[in-house]
C-alpha cells in the first residue's frame, strides 16, 4: 500500500531518524531511572503486541477479543522451556513464534468461517480457556502459584571461547525491546505493501469483491490469525524472560481489551497510529496508578478511564488519532458519516 507511505514525506523521514536517535540515547539522560526505563520497555512490549493484534482487526476487519491467549501461550512457552530445559532466549524466539502460529491456526481454521460478533465471542472464549488451563494444569504450570525463577536473558559466547553476558537491570532489555519493535515494524511495513497485505485489505473492505478477485477468504484469514498470534507469542516470550515470573492472572481478558483499545485509539490499520496508541495507554495507565491512590481511589478505577477514553474517541475521532489515509481523506471532505467510518475500521 504505497499510499500509506505518502504520510511520511522527507520531513517525516527526518522525524523518524530523530526519534530513533532519541530513543537510543534516552537511557543515558540524567533524569532517567530504572523505574522509567521499566515503563518504557513496557511501552515497547505493548507496541509489539498491538502491532501483532492490529493484523486481525486493522488489516482484516475481524474483531479479535482473545489475543491475550496467544500472549499467555508465548509467555508460558518461554517460561517452561527456560525452567525445564534451560533453552537460550535466542532459540526460544522462533519456537514461541511457531507455537503461537500453530495455536492461531488451530483456533482460526475451524472458527474463521464465523462472521463478525460470533467470531469475536469464540476468540473471547479461547482466551478464557487459556487462563483456565494455566490455572488448573498444575503439573505443567504450577497453576495459581505461578512460575518463578525464570532465568534472565543472556548472551552466551562460551562456545566460541567468549564470555557469558547476562542481562542485568533494565538497560539491556531496553535495547533488546527496541530491536524487537524495529523488526516487528519492518515486517508490518513489508507485509502492508505485499500481495498478502493487499489480499487482507481486500477482505477488510469487501469480502464478496475479494472472493471475486480469487482470494480464498478462509485461507487468508487463517494466515492473518496465525501471524498475529505468532507476534503475540513472541511478545509473551520476551515478557517471561524480562519479569522472570509468570502467573495465570497476568493473562486475563482485560489485557486483550487494553491492547484492542490501543489500536482503536491510535487508528486501526495504521502502523504508526497503533504504536502511538500503545505509548499513550501504557503511560496513562502508569500515571493513573500513581495518581489514583493520592485521590483516595482504588487503582482499578483506571479501567473506568480507559472506558471513558473509548467513548470519547467513538464520539469525536471514531477512526482513531491517526486513521488510515482513505478514511482520513473522507473525513476531511466531510463526506463520510460516522457509521461508514465504523464500517471501514471494522468495529
Amino acid at each position: 500500500m504505497g499510499k500509506l507511505r505518502l504520510n511520511d514525506l522527507s520531513g517525516g523521514a527526518k522525524l523518524r531518524i530523530g526519534l530513533l536517535i532519541l530513543v537510543l540515547i534516552l537511557p543515558l539522560l540524567p533524569f532517567v531511572n530504572d523505574y522509567l526505563l521499566h515503563i518504557i520497555i513496557l511501552v515497547y512490549l505493548y507496541m509489539i503486541l498491538a502491532l501483532g493484534l492490529n493484523i486481525v482487526p486493522g488489516f482484516n476487519g475481524l474483531l479479535d477479543l482473545g489475543y491475550v491467549g496467544f500472549y499467555g501461550i508465548g509467555a508460558y512457552t518461554s517460561g517452561l522451556l527456560t525452567v525445564h530445559f534451560g533453552l537460550s532466549y535466542w532459540v526460544i524466539i522462533p519456537l514461541a513464534f511457531i507455537n503461537g502460529a500453530i495455536w492461531g491456526i488451530l483456533l482460526g481454521a475451524p472458527t474463521l468461517r464465523l462472521t463478525g460478533d460470533y467470531f469475536a465471542i469464540v476468540t473471547f472464549g479461547f482466551s478464557e480457556l487459556v487462563v483456565l488451563f494455566l490455572t488448573n494444569e498444575i503439573w505443567l504450570t504450577r497453576g495459581p502459584l505461578g512460575l518463578p525463577g525464570i532465568d534472565v536473558i543472556s548472551i552466551d559466547l562460551t562456545l566460541f571461547g567468549g564470555p557469558k553476558y547476562e542481562f542485568m537491570g533494565e538497560l539491556p532489555y531496553y535495547y533488546l525491546a527496541i530491536a524487537m519493535v524495529l523488526v516487528t515494524v519492518f515486517v508490518m511495513y513489508r507485509i502492508q505493501s505485499s500481495r498478502l497485505g493487499r489480499a487482507w485489505f481486500a477482505i477488510r473492505d469487501d469480502e464478496v469483491a475479494a472472493v471475486s478477485c480469487g482470494i480464498n477468504l478462509l485461507t487468508y484469514k487463517v494466515i492473518a490469525f496465525a501471524i498475529s498470534a505468532a507476534f503475540g507469542a513472541v511478545g509473551g516470550s520476551f515478557f517471561a524472560r524480562w519479569v522472570t515470573f509468570l502467573s495465570p492472572d497476568m493473562f486475563k481478558f482485560w489485557e486483550s481489551f487494553l491492547i484492542l483499545c490501543m489500536i482503536v485509539l491510535g487508528g486501526m490499520g495504521n502502523i504508526w497510529g497503533v504504536m502511538i496508541g500503545a505509548a499513550v495507554l501504557v503511560s496513562l495507565s502508569e500515571v493513573l496508578r500513581e495518581l489514583l491512590p493520592l485521590l483516595g481511589l482504588p487503582v482499578e478505577v483506571r479501567f473506568l478511564f480507559f472506558g471513558l477514553i473509548m467513548v470519547l474517541m467513538m464520539r469525536y475521532r471514531p477512526a482513531g488519532l491517526r486513521p488510515i489515509p482513505a478514511v482520513a481523506a473522507q473525513m476531511r471532505a466531510g463526506r463520510v458519516k460516522r457509521k461508514k467510518v465504523k464500517a471501514a475500521t471494522g468495529i
Binding site: 500500500m1 513489508r190 500481495r195 493487499r198 469483491a209 472472493v211 471475486s212 478477485c213
Partner: protein, 273 residues
C-alpha cells in the same frame, strides 16, 4: 457442447426457500461474442450471474465452462475457483475496495494469477520482487486500457461514479478472464459516458474476451450486443438478434404488461399500412 461455446447453461434452477428465482433456464454463449441478458426488474438476471460466479449455489441444472479444451462443470464451485478458471464479473452496486488506491484495486485483481506469500513479503526474495514488478506493470496497463491512466494513486471511493465503474472493469480484467460478466455497467452513466463504455466493451471483445452483459439501457444493448437472451419471472423467454427481440410482442408484454404486446403489434400494423 459445440466447439464454439464458452459457456453452456443447462436447465438451471435456483430457489430461495419457496421463491423460485430461476426456472429451467438454458442458453449457450459462443466464444468471442457480446451477449446481452435482459429482462424486467426481478427477472433473475443477477441471480443467474451469481450462480455462474459461484456466489450462489444452483438448486438444479448445470453450468458448463469451456476452459481451453476441457469442459468443466462450475455449478456450485467456489467463487475464487471460478475466477481462477477464467470468469470475472462486476457488480450491480459497485463493489470496489473503497479504502485502497485505484492501483491497489487492480493489483488485487492480479491475486489469482500470482503466488508470493508471507516469506516473500518479509524477505523480498528475487521471485517476489519480479512478481511485484510485473503486477505493477500489468495493473498500469489495465488502468490505461480502461482510460484511468495516471489516476493510480487516488483513493478508489473518491473517484466519480463513471470512473469507479471503469475501475471495476479494470479489476475484473486483471484476473485474465475468458468470460467477463458485466452487471449493469451503464447504470447511472450519462450518454457520453455510455458511448465510451460501448467502445470499451468492443475493445474488450477485440482482446478475445467473451462478454456477458446485464443492461437496462437499451441504447447500450442495441449498440454492443450481437445476441440477446431475455428472461422473465426466472424463465427463459426468448433469444435472438437485438432488433428481433426488441420487436417481439412477448418481450414487450414482459416489460409493459399484458395487452401492451398486442397494442404494439397493432401500432406496427397501422404504421405498415
Amino acid at each position: 457442447m459445440k466447439m464454439t461455446s464458452i459457456l453452456e447453461i443447462n436447465r438451471l434452477s435456483k430457489s430461495f426457500g419457496g421463491l423460485v428465482a430461476l426456472k429451467d433456464i438454458s442458453f449457450n454463449i459462443a466464444k468471442g461474442e457480446i451477449i446481452g441478458l435482459i429482462g424486467p426488474n426481478g427477472a433473475g438476471k443477477t441471480t443467474l450471474f451469481n450462480c455462474v460466479a459461484g456466489i450462489e449455489k444452483p438448486t438444479r441444472g448445470q453450468i458448463i465452462f469451456a476452459n481451453g479444451d476441457h469442459n468443466i462443470s462450475i455449478g456450485g464451485k467456489k467463487p475464487e475457483s471460478v475466477t481462477a478458471l477464467g470468469i470475472a464479473r462486476t457488480f450491480q452496486n459497485i463493489r470496489l475496495f473503497d479504502n485502497l488506491t485505484v492501483i491497489d484495486n487492480v493489483k488485487i485483481g492480479r491475486h489469482c494469477r500470482t503466488r508470493s506469500n508471507f516469506f516473500g513479503a518479509v524477505f523480498h526474495n528475487r521471485f517476489e520482487r519480479e512478481e511485484e514488478r510485473a503486477i505493477t506493470e500489468s495493473a498500469n496497463q489495465y488502468l490505461e486500457f480502461v482510460g484511468l491512466k495516471g489516476r493510480g494513486d487516488e483513493i478508489a471511493s473518491s473517484m466519480p461514479y463513471g470512473n469507479q465503474r471503469r475501475l471495476e472493469i479494470a479489476r475484473a480484467l486483471a484476473t485474465e478472464p475468458q468470460l467477463l460478466m458485466l452487471d449493469e455497467p451503464a447504470a447511472g452513466m450519462n450518454p457520453h459516458e455510455s458511448r465510451d463504455l460501448m467502445d470499451l466493451i468492443h475493445r474488450i471483445r477485440d482482446k478475445g474476451i467473451t462478454v456477458l452483459l446485464i443492461e437496462h439501457d437499451m441504447k447500450v444493448v442495441m449498440g454492443v450486443c450481437e445476441r440477446v437472451v431475455v428472461i422473465n419471472h426466472g424463465e427463459w423467454l426468448t433469444e435472438g438478434k437485438p432488433q428481433e427481440v426488441q420487436n417481439d410482442p412477448k418481450v414487450i408484454e414482459a416489460y409493459l404488461g399484458t395487452g401492451a404486446g398486442n397494442a404494439a403489434l397493432n401500432t406496427g400494423a397501422v404504421n405498415a399500412a
